[in-house]
Symmetry: C2
Subunit: 432 residues, 2 copies
């Protein structure tokens, strides 16, 4: 039972109205109860807020971030120190000035029309994609689009998707979370074994035709043809992961598979390699038969990518700053790749670099008789060097023959490239 508002106000030297207001507020929030004629009481709340707060705080904190290694050869990250900070904020400022305020309301689930038009023109020119802006969906990265497509397939009754083996580990778990079973598709030196795709076994296949991850091969023309033939015969879906085609160092990248059959290929790409994964920006050109299902899922969740990031990206694309940045980064990564190959030839000639001259990484095939990739990664970790054994990208997690390391040269900050490569050279020279 609480004192009357009059008594408490007098005790505390406050205006009575203040106390009345406080009682009313605490009553409205459920901490006090008041019945006419019986005064004000503390409400019966079975567990006190304080207790609950204590229990929550006592919950073990998951250790989500381990101490970062001195040198990371992560195969999927660009050099984040090269992010064009001022170009980005400048583009956002200019873009915000140039768009009506309604831009900041609820927008089109596919993304802003000016961004989709800029993307369509860029993709057609640079990648040969058949890109209708009406069929472009701007997503929270490539993975978001992959998840939406998987869920759209699952919702229409499909149950299996073929995925390259080895492939991006995260993609496998994403597809599985969307409720689809994963059928492994082997990869050889001609790329994914699309000749093994059979009608009615899988509803879709995820391919990275321009640069297979992590093996680094290009899908051979015959295999491209097999993939398209399968998609037509089975009315299947090819999801094309075109994650790093802008970063080819020895000529033009092979054009997008999507152009061969826009009704059976969903084309997806990302700003994660050219700008930064933290932007969570990707884009898909979705076949007409699937666009409504994808947008329904979009509408029922986060609705669309933030207007701010769309505005900045559209402005960068329109002004040409995006392509200038990509050219700068291409030159930077090409230099790193060349330095890495020289280093390998000098310090570990037994290790064979595999894969086309492209992207942010090279596959190091380890010689028989030397340490396994797992061993090498453990030795590296002892020197605070992070290496990624090829085996972890295989569906069964088993080492392949030859065993290998998927070595990313993109993630190192530019100022650390010298030191990082030197440390890698020492490790390899001492281990082989």
């Amino acid at each position: 039972m609480l004192p009357s508002t009059r008594a408490l106000a007098s005790d505390l030297g406050l205006a009575r109205g203040t106390v009345v207001e406080a009682y009313a507020q605490l009553q409205a929030e459920g901490y006090l109860t008041a019945r006419r004629g019986s005064g004000t009481r503390v409400a019966k709340i079975p567990v006190s807020t304080r207790e609950a707060a204590g229990r929550l705080a006592a919950r073990a904190e998951p250790d989500r971030r381990a101490r970062p290694p001195r040198f990371s050869f992560h195969p999927g990250l660009p050099d984040l120190t090269a992010f064009p900070y001022s170009a980005w904020t400048g583009a956002l400022r200019r873009g915000l000035r140039g768009t009506p305020a309604s831009t900041l309301g609820y927008g089109d689930p596919r993304g802003r029309s000016d961004l989709r038009e800029a993307l369509a023109s860029y993709l057609a020119r640079v990648r040969g994609v058949v890109a209708d802006p009406e069929l472009i969906v701007v997503c929270g990265g490539f993975s978001h689009g992959l998840a939406l497509l998987s869920r759209a397939l699952q919702a229409r009754g499909d149950s299996r998707i073929a995925m390259e083996d080895p492939c991006v580990t995260m993609h496998r778990s994403m597809v599985a979370t969307a409720g689809m079973a994963v059928a492994p598709l082997p990869v050889d030196e001609l790329g994914a074994r699309t000749d093994l795709l059979a009608p009615r076994k899988v509803a879709a296949v995820l391919l990275a035709p321009a640069h297979q991850f992590p093996l680094g091969v290009v899908l051979h023309p015959d295999r491209r043809a097999s993939a398209i033939a399968w998609a037509r015969a089975a009315d299947g879906l090819i999801v094309e992961d075109d994650y790093d085609a802008e970063l080819r160092y020895d000529g033009q990248p092979v054009g997008a598979l999507q152009a061969l059959d826009p009704e059976h290929v969903a084309y997806g790409a990302t700003a994660s390699k050219t700008l930064a994964p933290g932007l969570r920006l990707g884009w898909f050109v979705v076949p007409p038969a699937l666009i409504d299902a994808v947008l329904e899922l979009r509408d029922a969740e986060d609705r669309h990518v933030p207007a701010t990031d769309q505005i900045a990206l559209a402005e960068l694309l329109r002004s040409g700053a995006y392509e200038r940045h990509v050219r700068r980064m291409r030159a930077r990564y090409r230099r790193r790749r060349e330095r890495l190959l020289v280093l390998l030839a000098e310090r570990a000639p037994e290790v064979r670099p595999l894969g086309i001259a492209a992207g942010l990484r090279v596959l190091l095939a380890l010689p028989p008789g030397g340490p396994s990739a797992d061993d090498l990664a453990r030795r590296a970790a002892a020197r605070s060097i992070e290496l990624f054994p090829l085996s972890q990208f295989h569906h069964d997690g088993e080492p392949s023959d030859p065993d290998g390391v998927v070595l990313g040269y993109g993630a190192l900050p530019e100022y650390d490239v010298e030191a990082g490569l030197a440390a890698l050279g020492d490790l390899l020279a001492e281990s082989m």
Copy 2:
């Protein structure tokens, strides 16, 4: 069959290497086939790219954006012209300068730790939320968190959720898309009939205790107690939609229900009313029992909200600029509300404004004998005024008794408030 590279190079006056490269590229992309000894041929592609492109273009374009009305009284939108452009871009620039580059890599699925800490402190202070930063998940708006929670419930085998009737239409379809059945929960002048919740009938209930949408009532203390009692008895989940608590004009808003039982209440709020929906920024405090399931879904899709927007929001919260903006907007909307009430008293005294002095809207109860809300909305549309009948927020879409219009005064740009209110006054005066 194509001419030999030598012949074509000579015909075109090009270096032979250029033609060889072009042939190789077209072959790699699948447009040409070459067999040793039989020359180069155009590949058989069943449908030409050009045909496919034509068919895609011919697909009817959905008319997703109708011409906007002259005056919109949308009940869920803030004044987008008041978005703090320079504060936002300034916060982003300062924030980017102050964070390491690794910030732009793949981040924590819950959001950046500095943003979660800023939110926890803000929510504890302003809303009395028991907010452990470890349990905060930054989402693409409130709706995104609602969808994630619904899917997490659905994945663990739950099948029904109770939702206020009437409520936000979009929330109903979101929950349904996530695979949950919706049980309508009536709302009266004391708020949602939480006293009707029975164990084992529903797994969760979505409530807006501080300001029911669209009726504008506050959940009565007894109903708060019933909700908590139900959640404890049924081990059920309350999803608290705290979408506009910062905008209360006649005193302090009622504190968050979540504080009464953080283990059974998922607290969600948004920047959509205080800043802009286009930012797609919301935040949830998730009960410990559900956090892992929510983060698993997050990890398997867009992973996290863009780093850029998180950085800007964290900086705005830390610097106090967010609260200054909210105070400015609160004063602006309060003035509009007062002007609207005066206008109603003068020009349409038969129309009763209902709901607490809060948020971006008021419920107009229409007098019996006058036009229905649907009629009024049609008359308004003829003058390019957008009105929202209460019936469209009811689960069955039927008009309630009394019939009403959910009138938003937030969406008008400040420069249009005078003209918009005058047009509304004319419409009401002529229609009643």
